[in-house]
Symmetry: D2
Subunit: 96 residues, 4 copies
């Protein structure tokens, strides 16, 4: 899995309008209606994350979830991160 170049990342981010690049990682902050929905977002994603064996860095406080995506083995953002961002975006949109 090859590290994406800056222009490749920019191109991919065009399809993920709410995601950005922060400290070299794909970054997104979600705000849900309450803790239950924030946790439910993580819980809906958890089985699919484990299935693809590619895990996010994510943090939760009450109704907020912050996500950072990178591929350690590749030393940067790869297509795996872009795909995981798209997966998380789809689930978050439902629960938002």
């Amino acid at each position: 899995m090859a590290k994406l170049s800056d222009s490749e990342i920019s191109s991919q981010l065009a399809k993920l309008p709410n995601w950005g690049l922060k400290d070299g990682k794909l970054h997104r902050e979600y705000k849900f209606s309450d803790f239950a929905h924030a946790f439910g977002f993580m819980a809906t994603a958890a089985p699919l994350i484990e299935k693809r064996d590619h895990h996010p860095e994510w943090a939760n406080v009450y109704n907020r979830v912050t996500v950072d995506l990178t591929t350690h083995d590749a030393g940067g953002v790869t297509q795996k991160d872009v795909d995981l961002a798209a997966l998380l975006e789809g689930i978050a949109k439902k629960l938002a």
Copy 2:
């Protein structure tokens, strides 16, 4: 918490069109896109269920979740069950 009469249950079910009465319990079967969304439905509801201290009987197989609601202490369906049905319906609608 008083047991609802049959006519009170009928009146409440009018507001919950996909719910019915089965074996004296409020009953609903959900079908999601996959296991992750079925589990995510349960996981989003779990904190809110614990908060109100009123728990469902629910079963999951792959993408399906069957729910049965009754209030053991009252020996039948109470307003607590109607309220829990409405809560679950709202979450399921988002994840369906």
Copy 3:
């Protein structure tokens, strides 16, 4: 994945002392300290279940979880069910 014979199932169940055969499925009833631990058992298992793409029939009421395992494609109990039973048993033992 071939259906196990009755003697093969008996042999496997010897290693899973709390599991039995009910209606042709591997069967086990768990009782946890409270709803949170019962749900936590299901949640810890959920990512691993999705990863192996073999899903249980399971039901929860308050602190209880009932599990039934069969392989639909094989028309009976297979090694996949035995392996899933062992996985669930390991997680349940920790949370019990």
Copy 4:
């Protein structure tokens, strides 16, 4: 809910040997066997967290969960944080 003094926090931390104070918050880093157990820890705690209406700051990467506890309304660490630390410690010990 009153903010605890430094000496009160020290006294409480004596009962929570793996917890420390970091940036004015109760702090603990957990390492589990895999992502499923790290997520399972959060999921077991989630209903109990919502019930007491006091939420942690916590972050997960693969098999690790970092927890920071403070009471925003009190501007520091309170007994609520100490109690939540004890709750999380009990669950984590089971799943570790």
